[in-house]
């Protein structure tokens, strides 16, 4: 039996490969009109790093890592809040004719 960490590496690679395909396809279909909102939305999405940061800040293994984790959570949270708000603010501006 392989050790689970190595086994999982291949799952991770599979996920990465598939997610990259999804990414390319999905982004290629984004309307060119919306490339600026796209950038701020992906900003918010990539702030998913918050997941890792929360664990570090919450585990409180050492003062050093807790501080690093807290700063990382704050940085990610900034991106989440500003990313989604800004995207929505911009999208609200796009109006159809006669609306």
């Amino acid at each position: 039996m392989e050790n689970p960490v190595t086994l999982d590496l291949w799952s991770m690679l599979f996920v990465f490969m598939l997610a990259t395909f999804v990414g390319f396809q999905v982004i290629q279909n984004v309307s060119r009109l919306l490339h600026t909102p796209l950038m701020s939305l992906t900003n918010a999405i990539s702030a998913i790093a918050v997941v890792g940061s929360i664990l570090i800040a919450g585990e409180q293994e050492s003062r050093f890592t807790t501080i690093l984790g807290t700063v990382a959570v704050a940085a990610s949270m900034t991106n989440i809040v500003s990313g989604f708000l800004l995207t929505d603010r911009m999208l609200r501006m796009f109006k159809e004719r006669g609306k």
Binding site: M12, R32, L34, V51, S53, A74, M77
Partner: protein, 464 residues
């Protein structure tokens, strides 16, 4: 059902929702649904994570949430002309978070003696990408905000120096993978990538920043992917890969629309040397008053407005909207021709014009509008230059040769609004201004358009 299950279900749902979120951006009508999906996904991801049994204290997390929210709200309220630098800043935050998590994990596993080769390698990659994105994006934001000098700063052997730095950082990473406990190598990687981020951006001109921030977007995504490998977290890998491919595609689109290669953007120090020569023969231009322009426009059937960087700088989008209203009210068919690199970031013209409440159906992409230009009565160029320079089509010697342009020269009449005869970003003359059918309306775009609108409004409705 164990907590573990609950967390995994949340992560799976979050990943699917992130994908849907980007999918719905394919049309302005569904786009806001995309934001909602994104918010729900993020809430599921955060909610799931907060359940993790490893977490023993929530106070720091709560503090960080508050700080982040307080910082985030004002950053979302910037004027739309400042969105490029806000975006760069936000990549810096993303890179920083990834880098810090990498450092924390390294130190934790080091203490616990759990640094395997694989983990160390992934951490090294995460930190390299995270920290170079951090400083690189800060520099880019500085250049866009014009805090940092926007012209390319170059010196001898610059590319050699930069690439050597990167090579050393990578070597240190490889060494670290073999000797995970040798923390000096890890420290070296951090210092080198912070430095590399700065040096990478220094030689790139301010006007190339949009391409660069797209690329940094991609790096920020890839550092999240690396974090995903470190933490064995599939949601991080998925979201990071989405972000990585988005940034990559945007920068490819920008490069293509400028007919330049990645290497040229990153290492070309474009816009520095361009000798503003080619003057030679004294050619003449015809200039026009606001009244002339108003007459031309009101007597036209079809008008195409071509906005460029100058419109953004002049903040003239609201005047453009008034003009659009006046003309459509008079039955003139008005469309906007949007060049992919017009403005300061991908899609920038579209948001600016949308902000001015111009309906998005009127915003037409370059490839779709070009066939219509020969039947257009007036092409009105507002602070655009390179993107309407016909030299791109025929002058093999021109630095913009091969770049796709908007065929303003094919319209029956062309009116160009700019302040002077100075060239645009590429630093070259534009023969369009000397063409027989072209009239120049000199002045600040906001000012000139304001006068034109007044002239039209004041006018008794002409025989149309």
């Amino acid at each position: 059902m164990s907590v573990h299950y609950l967390i995994e279900i949340n992560y799976l749902a979050a990943a699917a929702l992130f994908i849907l979120s980007l999918r719905w951006l394919n049309h302005p009508r569904t786009a806001r649904r995309g934001v909602i999906a994104g918010v729900v996904a993020m809430a599921a991801a955060i909610g799931g994570t907060l359940l993790a049994p490893e977490i023993i204290g929530y106070s720091w997390i709560a503090v960080a949430f508050v700080v982040g929210t307080l910082l985030g709200i004002p950053l979302a309220m910037v004027p739309l002309t400042a969105v490029p630098q806000r975006t760069a800043l936000s990549h810096a935050f993303g890179g920083l978070a990834a880098g810090l998590v990498g450092v924390a994990k390294y130190s934790l596993w080091m203490d616990q003696g759990q640094l395997t080769a694989f983990r160390t390698g992934a951490i090294a990659l995460e930190c390299l990408l995270g920290f170079l994105t951090f400083t690189g994006s800060l520099m880019a934001a500085g250049k866009l905000q014009e805090i940092v000098p926007t012209r390319p700063i170059t010196y001898r052997n610059q590319n050699l120096v930069n690439l050597s730095l990167l090579a050393i950082a990578i070597l240190a990473g490889v060494y670290l993978t073999i000797h995970p406990a040798y923390w000096q190598a890890f420290a070296a990687i951090i210092v080198l990538s912070l430095t590399f981020g700065v040096l990478l951006i220094i030689p790139i001109g301010g006007a190339d920043m949009p391409t660069v921030i797209s690329l940094l977007n991609s790096y920020a995504g890839l550092s999240a992917v690396a974090m995903g490998f470190v933490l064995q977290n599939k949601l991080l890998i998925t979201a990071g890969a989405l972000d990585g491919s988005s940034g990559f595609i945007l920068s490819v689109i920008m490069c293509r629309a400028m007919n330049r290669s990645f290497t040229n953007v990153l290492f070309g120090a474009f816009g520095q040397v361009q000798a503003r020569a080619q003057a030679g023969e004294a050619k003449t231009v015809k200039s026009a008053t606001a009244q002339d322009v108003a007459d031309l426009l009101t007597h036209a059937d079809r008008v195409v407005i071509i906005p460029g960087y100058g419109m953004a700088v002049a903040q003239a989008q609201h005047r453009v909207h008034e003009l659009y209203d006046q003309l459509t009210k008079r039955g003139v068919d008005v469309k906007f021709a949007i060049h992919p690199v017009a403005g300061r970031m991908p899609g920038h013209m579209n948001v600016l014009l949308a902000e001015a409440e111009i309906p998005y159906e009127a915003l037409v992409e370059m490839d779709d509008i070009n066939p219509e230009l020969p039947q257009t009565d007036v092409a009105l160029v507002v602070g655009a230059n390179d993107v309407v320079n016909p030299a791109a089509r025929h002058d093999k010697g021109s630095p913009i040769y091969g770049m796709p342009i908007i065929d303003a020269d094919k319209a029956k009449t062309c009116v160009a609004i700019k302040r002077s005869m100075n060239p645009g970003f590429a630093g070259i003359e534009n023969e369009l201004y000397y063409a027989d059918q072209t009239l120049m309306a000199f002045g600040d775009a906001k000012q000139v358009l304001g006068d034109v609108v007044k002239a039209i409004a004041g006018e008794t409705v002409g025989v149309h």
